[in-house]
């Protein structure tokens, strides 16, 4: 799982007390993780989403009771913030996943971004939680505030879009 890194509990406690150096250090540790979540969900708005998510994380840090739960807590905030920011943008090229066209080279990240862009933010969030974070449907549903059945159907449609795009 991408968020299983250990963070020194003393650093988290110092950041919770508002120490600016600890806040800065914690931000350095969390930024790559938040970027990996926000990038595939919010796409071109990913940096905005990551910025907003980290503001919420650092402002809300005092409410985190157990430092060991840090990455799980950050994941929830980052996913929800990425979906929120992505939904602000009016889709230009959105089309039903069944109509996603095949990209030229499956190795190119730009093709992946293009394929992701043809899914809704909610579908992208399910892909991130299942395929990057390795969560099960119940855990993913809890984060997205939807039943496991909805996660399952979104995942099916999102993966269908990818399969059609890669022509496999």
């Amino acid at each position: 799982m991408a968020g299983s890194e250990e963070v020194d509990p003393a650093l988290v406690r110092a950041a919770q007390r508002g120490d600016p150096m600890a806040l800065g250090e914690l931000m350095e540790i969390l930024a790559p993780y938040v970027g990996r979540i926000c990038g595939p969900i919010a796409l071109q708005d990913g940096p905005d989403a990551a910025q907003e998510a980290l503001i919420l994380v650092l402002r809300g840090l005092r409410g985190l009771r157990e430092p060991a739960a840090l990455f799980g807590w950050v994941r929830v905030i980052a996913v929800r913030e990425a979906v929120r920011v992505a939904r602000r943008r009016v889709p230009i090229s959105a089309m039903p996943v069944e109509e996603v066209s095949a990209p030229g080279d499956p190795e190119l990240a730009v093709d992946i971004t293009d394929t992701l862009a043809r899914l809704t933010p909610e579908h992208r969030a399910v892909l991130v939680l299942r395929d990057i974070e390795g969560l099960d449907e119940v855990q993913a549903g809890r984060i997205l505030a939807v039943p496991p059945g909805t996660v399952r159907s979104r995942l099916f449609r999102a993966r269908l879009g990818f399969r059609k795009a890669w022509g496999s």
Binding site: G39, G46, A50, D131
Partner: protein
């Protein structure tokens, strides 16, 4: 399957905005786009011993007393002889400085042919809200000083 997926980059200027929103005391934040390349701008502003007294009207001198990787210790002397020891994190595009009573930060990223430069400053004092007018005045003056440097006018 996911190794080529897009990753959102939180550049140093965005990190400075996050820090400004997260600290619990009022801070001044200024941003300006300088018509000079990033390498040139950062080479200048990261020379703390020369640049802090040049741009901060309250600082008479600054001296690095210890350096270990990207961590420095800096002794600043004010106009009235008062001294403050700063813990500093300094790496390309990012500088964070904290003394007992003061927080400062600078960040820079390339933007088009120039450089977006951001600075943050605040007093870590009880009743710091009262210092906002002073912060604004000092911050505006420092940002003008950065923006009006002859070697960053392009």
């Amino acid at each position: 399957m996911t190794e080529n997926w897009p990753v959102a980059d939180l550049d140093p200027v965005r990190r400075l905005r996050v820090l400004a929103a997260a600290v619990r005391f009022p801070v001044y934040v200024g941003e300006v786009v300088l018509p000079a390349p990033f390498e040139e701008v950062w080479a200048d502003v990261s020379d703390l011993e020369h640049e802090l007294p040049r741009h901060l009207s309250t600082v008479r001198s600054a001296r690095v007393t210890r350096a270990e990787g990207d961590r420095l210790e800096l002794l600043a002397t004010g106009n009235f002889g008062q001294r403050a020891r700063f813990d500093v994190v300094l790496r390309p595009g990012w500088c964070l400085m904290r003394s007992r009573f003061v927080l400062g930060a600078m960040a820079a990223v390339p933007e088009a042919a120039g450089t977006r430069f951001a600075a943050l400053g605040g007093f870590r004092l009880p009743g710091a809200r009262l210092t906002r007018p002073l912060l604004t005045m000092l911050g505006d003056r420092a940002m003008r000083s950065f923006a009006e440097r002859p070697d960053t006018r392009g």
